[in-house]
């Protein structure tokens, strides 16, 4: 199977032949033959030329979506795209996150709002304070600009990924 892998900005082509307990792979011309043991559906134990690689795979695997692979202690965030599944869906790039959106990184409660709509702010200046796990965290503007929208009020409970404010 031919696939495309991206790690950060780095892209590689990978060809893989899965023969259950044995695997052949070719990454940009580098060839690997690995013994494979699937670990409880959550990772693999690879042995290549006597060297052991204990790998864990975290996250839901879908074409274009980033998952975490931990080799030993080292984490890698990898997105696998399947050229066969790209037809008609050109916007697979998951990295097009609006820099001007202030997104809640985790669930919490808004305890203070430090700016008003229309206010001119610098990059890194505080927009609001969100309390989670008993710590108050100042949410800082990702860029300089004008506060275009404040989507929450003091006391509101926010969810992970919720857009709290927009800076233009």
């Amino acid at each position: 199977m031919k696939l495309r892998a991206s790690i950060g900005d780095h892209q590689t082509d990978i060809q893989i032949l899965d023969q259950a307990s044995l695997l052949n792979a070719d990454i940009d011309g580098r060839r690997y033959e690995l013994k494979v043991l699937e670990l409880d559906g959550r990772g693999y134990l690879f042995i290549s030329d006597g060297r052991v690689f204990d790998c864990r795979v975290e996250g839901q695997l879908e074409s274009g979506r980033t998952i975490d692979v931990i080799v030993g202690t080292e984490p890698y965030a990898i997105a696998i795209t399947d050229p066969k599944r790209l037809r008609g869906s050109k916007a697979v790039d998951t990295r097009t996150i609006e820099a001007a959106h202030l997104v809640a990184p985790m669930p919490g409660k808004v305890v203070r709002i430090l700016v008003e709509v229309g206010e001119q702010i610098d990059a890194g200046s505080g927009i609001m304070v969100v309390e989670a796990m008993k710590m108050q965290n100042e949410m800082k503007s990702p860029k300089a600009g004008v506060v275009a929208a404040l989507n929450v009020q003091v006391g509101a409970t926010v969810n992970r990924g919720e857009v709290l404010a927009v800076v233009e």
Binding site: I14, V129, M133
Partner: protein
């Protein structure tokens, strides 16, 4: 001795106390919030009672509902652990009024030490040096501004009722004072129910060294030496050591005596910790505060002295005198503890709650892991994000670091982000290895990291190994994709799949099935 003890806490410390109860053949009673119904501390207990909703103000801080659980269980004593109600004098009184024993100091001692401003006064009266600062809470911003000018920047704002770095802000200049003052007050109010803050001068390159003390009802006072807690972020300790790399018997003796003086001044009973700031340059120490409870980092003292602090706490509360005298205390080897938090070190230590999908805990020579979770556990947003404490002991500091490095590499936690990766880098850091520690360590470490990205911790080889590991990771990701696709297609047949391929796959499956049945007739 008690027959039954209720543990008014959760997480790793509740588990730690249950273990001490087991050692002493005491029945352990757990309490739990709705979020903790399946938590490890509940599973390990003999009895467990629900005390309310997830929010800690309605459960682990709810005195009424904990007392109701105590009454129902027939427990004779209550151990508060640390955090929550551990330093709440009102709770200690409620326990006593119900005819039970509070495993901790008398409420009067807690009250004096509970307010940092009155603790400072007590230390001054006992003749122990303190950091220059205010002894009363600040009335308003204007007073804060004037005091800061008097001491000179940088200054530190602290919650009078504080602890754990909450309600605490270092202020570099007057421009930052206003927002820091408001933030400290509001954080203090939400964390401790009191918005009182006071101000201290910042000591230059300070080490944070604390002394473990112990007292019994017979009037014996001892100290168990120091712990070095200089490695902090957001004024929260992340790595602790015993002994301090300063390791001077003379200094230990002087600080130990000062700590005992303070404990005596408030008629202390049980385990307590007196925190000092130690200036590396002047070799002077200043009283910071006294924690009237068991500390998070107590395992390092236990590893080095061999004394079980929780067992001793229970014995002392039951009226037994201390099982050892000062001259019998010996410090053997070196211990280091890393606090494993559910936080993302790559994104400014932001909390990372969620389900622990994978857990492999290290062990082997010299390793101790005090954890409150198991695989499948949910790290909830409601409580402190610390999930375990990993401690290593060795004959020397270098040997302890070696063991810690090995254990950290063995430790694997999946599903959430943790501070493990951060610790793996710290134990390889030259300044850490050379023990150049002070409270500015983490920010300097982060700076070094930015300037010269540390080599990823490899078993062997440099950049070649890095690209090899990256290839292996890519293969693992690709293989997962391939297998998830084939699993999907065996579940519901996708239309693009050719009939031939399907037939081939079915034949393949049959072959394996046949092979299996011939292997196991």
């Amino acid at each position: 001795m008690f027959r039954k003890i209720l543990i008014a806490n959760r997480g790793e410390i509740a588990v730690r106390i249950i273990r001490a109860c087991r050692d002493l053949r005491i029945s352990a009673v757990a309490v739990f919030s709705e979020a903790d119904a399946a938590a490890l501390h509940v599973r390990l207990a003999d009895e467990a009672y629900s005390i309310g909703p997830a929010s800690s103000t309605q459960s682990y801080l709810n005195i009424e509902s904990i007392m109701a659980a105590a009454e129902r269980s027939g427990a004779e004593a209550i151990h508060p652990g640390y955090g929550f109600l551990a330093e709440n004098a009102e709770f200690a009184r409620a326990v006593e009024e119900a005819g039970l024993i509070f495993i901790g100091p008398p409420p009067e001692a807690m009250e004096v030490m509970g307010s940092k401003t009155s603790a400072r006064r007590a230390a001054i009266e006992a003749g122990v040096p303190v950091v220059p600062g205010t002894t009363e809470p600040l009335r308003d911003y204007e007073e804060a501004r004037e005091t800061a000018i008097r001491f000179g920047y940088p200054v530190m704002l602290k919650a009078a009722a504080g602890g754990g770095g909450k309600g605490m802000r270092q202020v570099e200049s007057e421009a930052e004072l206003r927002s820091a003052f408001d933030a400290a007050k509001s954080e203090a109010a939400s964390a401790f129910g009191s918005s009182d803050v006071y101000l201290e001068k910042v000591v230059d390159r300070p080490r944070h060294i604390e002394i473990q003390i112990f007292a019994d009802m017979q009037g014996n006072f001892v100290h168990l030496g120091e712990r070095e807690c200089s490695i902090q972020r957001r004024h929260q300790k992340v790595i602790e050591e015993c002994p301090s790399p300063v390791n001077e018997p003379y200094l230990r003796e002087r600080m130990g005596e000062a700590a005992i003086k303070i404990a005596r001044a408030v008629d202390y009973v049980g385990a307590g910790t007196v925190e000092f700031l130690f200036s590396d340059t002047s070799r002077e120490f200043y009283f910071l505060e006294m924690n009237t409870r068991l500390q998070v980092e107590h395992p390092v003292t236990e590893l080095v002295t061999g004394i079980d602090l929780v067992r001793e706490q229970i014995n002392v509360a039951a009226g037994t005198s201390l099982s050892f005298r000062q001259e019998k205390v010996r410090w053997r080897g070196h211990a280091i503890e890393c606090r494993v938090y559910a936080e993302d070190p790559e994104s400014n230590f932001f909390p990372s709650p969620g389900r622990i999908t994978f857990l492999r805990v290290p062990s082997g020579p010299g390793i101790r892991d005090d954890s409150g979770v198991v695989e499948g556990a949910e790290v909830s947003i409601y409580y402190d994000p610390m999930i375990s404490k990993l401690a290593a002991w060795g004959r020397t500091r270098a040997a302890a670091i070696d063991r810690m490095r090995r254990a950290l590499d063995e430790y694997a936690i999946g599903g959430i982000k943790t501070t493990l990766s951060f610790f793996r880098e710290i134990v390889r850091d030259e300044e850490f290895i050379a023990a150049r520690l002070d409270t500015g360590f983490i920010s300097r470490f982060n700076q070094r990291r930015k300037e010269r990205p540390l080599e990823r911790p490899h078993p062997a080889g440099g950049s070649q190994a890095a690209s090899l590991h990256q290839d292996i990771a890519t293969i693992a990701a690709a293989l997962s994709y391939v297998r998830s696709q084939s699993r999907r297609s065996t579940n519901h047949v996708p239309h693009e799949e050719s009939k031939w391929k399907m037939a081939g796959r079915v034949a393949g499956l049959n072959r394996t099935a046949l092979k299996r049945s011939s292997e196991h007739p």
